[in-house]
Amino acid sequence: MAVKVYGAATSTATVRVLLCLEEMGAEYELVPIDFFTGEHKSPPHLARNPFGQMPAFEDGDLILFESRAISRYVLRKYKSSGPDLLRDGSLEESAMVDVWLEVEAQQYDKAISSIYIETVIKPVFFGGVTDEKVVAESVEKLGKVLDVYEARLSKSKYLAGDFLSFADLSHIPYTQHIIASPHASLFESRLHVKAWWESLASRPAYKKVTAGVPTSK
């Protein structure tokens, strides 16, 4: 039976889960949830995601929310049919994956999401005005985070080590929007970060999932 993802291709968290499903060649159904009609706050969706967010996930009786938790479940469920992106077989490697996933969720996401929210979500989805001061602060913050990434990626091919992992892929959803914006220079000016991004963006799963995701360009 195919698993179900309740969300939208425009929801970065939904894209995170779709990337993992595609990497593992899993059969799934994307059930669209309409942000503009507030469907994510409707009782049927709240029954799946009590915080009224996207995505939610269903595998038989199991219902999950939080895109990184869903992704980890998917990567484990289909582990025999795709790359080893969590490294559960090694205590130390899996710990490094967890470190950089935490960095993504705590340091990276906070800075990069602000840029996307101010420059795209607010004006396009809410008819609001971009707060340039917030953008400038977030760009500076992201720059500092990317300096750490540049140093890290000059020592190892990917974030958790010399192996690609979910920690790298988890960065894709917001990054693809920023790469398509004038702020791409943050990535292009840092050689190892640039090479790392190009490696991620060359993956078939990336191309397939992001083909359906509109960017600000």
């Binding site: 939080e66 869903i70 980890r72 484990r76 205590l91 967890d98 935490e102 340091q107 750490v148 890290r152």
Partner: protein
């Protein structure tokens, strides 16, 4: 060799790590990093932790940062002893990951501004932003309503056993309840209240509190 935990014992994130180690009966040395003197932002410390935060740990030669990565590591390394902190099936593990992420992304970003503005800044003679704290308290109340619904169905967040998902909530919640006067937020949420009483009275957590109060450097089970 053994485990070294670097940080300040009163700080929330190092306390998560200490609690996990005590639950698993693992001894450790606590190495003080003087965050009040900004030691964690100095070049020497940032060689180890590129984001200049606490905790940082060394398990023999293996070094880690990010408290939630650290507790996952020790919970897996010592899966064969102490309570099962990661769930017993793939589905249970997924629920543990889910509520760990809720704590990291929804709960704590709301709780920390309350603790900073109502407790931490004032005790240092700095002005706390009361407006920011009040806004966060309103948000936290709504978040706790979701927790109430979950805890009416399961004894702990991820199921009927205590797991990492509960553990990572404890240190900051203690600050909210004991130092920010927010116990009342639990009064209309009987299941959250019962959950808080259960998790905060765990012998391992009480040992962490005693260890912190003692100012000791070495913990042995």
């Amino acid at each position: 060799m053994g485990v070294k935990v670097y940080g300040k014992p009163q700080a929330v994130c190092p306390q998560r790590v200490m609690h996990c180690l005590v639950e698993k009966g693992v001894s450790f040395e606590f190495v003080l990093v003087d965050i009040d003197a900004m030691e964690h932002k100095r070049a020497e410390y940032m060689e180890k932790h590129p984001f200049g935060q606490v905790p940082f740990i060394a398990d023999g030669d293996f070094e880690l940062f990010e408290s939630r990565a650290i507790v996952r590591y020790f919970a897996a390394k010592y899966a064969d002893r102490g309570p099962n902190l990661l769930g017993r099936t793939a589905e249970e593990r997924a629920k543990v990951e889910q509520w760990l992420d809720v704590e990291a992304i929804t709960y704590s970003p709301c709780a920390f501004p309350i603790v900073f503005n109502l407790f931490l800044f004032p005790i240092r003679g700095l002005p706390g932003n009361k407006g920011e704290a009040v806004a966060a308290m309103e948000k936290l109340d709504k978040i706790l309503e979701v927790y109430e619904k979950q805890l009416a169905r399961t004894k702990y967040l991820a199921g009927d056993e205590f797991t990492l998902a509960d553990l990572t909530h404890i240190p900051v919640t203690r600050y909210l309840v004991e130092h920010c006067g927010l116990a009342y937020l639990l009064d209309d949420k009987p299941h959250v209240k019962a959950w808080w009483e259960a998790v905060s009275s765990r012998p391992a957590w009480k040992k962490v509190m005693s260890f912190v109060a003692s100012g000791a450097s070495f913990y042995a089970p």
